[in-house]
């Protein structure tokens, strides 16, 4: 099984070494394995957990919420009721955001297709100018 040093993980996941140490201090990461000389060695489970943390942060989840969700992730059958409820709420938030992103994607797809089809000028810019 591959293991990685903090520098490798930092580059791989675009997280600073300080952030990685901070996550461990907060308990978002389980205690990372170390060599005899104290060098952290991250395994694939740590990486998976860190990727989850990154995704959740992009959704503007707080670190406290992420910590709870990680519990759910680890042991969904025995998660506390509050944690289950939090997971449901966060799932609903994600569904709403997905819907908004899909609409935005479709709007931009349509506008991009319009520009491709136009010989002279960009109908998007002209349309915006006319409306403003």
């Amino acid at each position: 099984m591959s293991v990685y040093r903090i520098g490798d993980i930092s580059k791989m996941l675009e997280l600073t070494a300080d952030t990685l140490r901070y996550y461990e201090k907060l308990g978002l990461l389980k205690k990372v394995n170390r060599t005899a000389s104290g060098i952290r060695l991250y395994n694939h489970k740590d990486i998976s957990r860190l990727k989850f943390i990154k995704r959740a942060q992009k959704m503007d989840f707080t670190l406290a919420e992420i910590k709870d969700l990680l519990q759910m992730r680890e042991d969904p059958q025995h998660a506390r009721i509050e944690v289950r409820e939090l997971s449901h709420r966060k799932l609903a938030e994600i569904e709403t955001r997905l819907k908004d992103l899909t609409t935005l994607r479709n709007e931009l797809t349509l506008l991009v297709n319009l520009c491709l089809g136009s010989d002279g000028g960009c109908p998007i810019i002209e349309g915006i100018d006319e409306n403003s």
């Binding site: 479709n106 709007e107 349509l110 319009l114 089809g117 136009s118 002279g120 109908p123 002209e126």
Partner: protein, 103 residues
């Protein structure tokens, strides 16, 4: 006497040459179908061009991703320029009319 509505919306954009052709095609097909039919049914026909730039939300909600697109009775039916035959069949289907080949 029954009453139907036929609403054909051509989703178009500025400088979209095909869009003008789509509008002309829709008018031609409706004329060739001889609507309203001689069955005594009253049909209100509405063929209109919808600018996707001015009505972007509506276009996207209907699923329009490119122009010309054609909706019949608020349902997106064509996502590109259709043939006359395809448009005729789609209109007949909406109005539950039998297929009439142009003579």
């Amino acid at each position: 006497m029954s009453e139907y509505d036929l609403k054909i919306e051509i989703f178009s954009a500025p400088c979209c040459n095909q869009c003008d052709k789509a509008f002309v095609l829709a008018e031609k097909v409706v004329n060739e179908l001889g609507l309203p039919p001689s069955t005594g049914q009253s049909i209100t026909i509405d063929i209109r061009k919808i600018s996707v730039v001015e009505e972007l939300d509506y276009a996207v909600a209907l699923g329009v991703l490119a122009t010309p697109s054609i909706a019949i009775n608020s349902e997106l039916v064509f996502t590109s320029m259709p043939t006359a035959k395809a448009l005729r069949l789609a209109i007949q289907s909406q109005l539950a009319l039998p297929d009439q080949e142009k003579t």
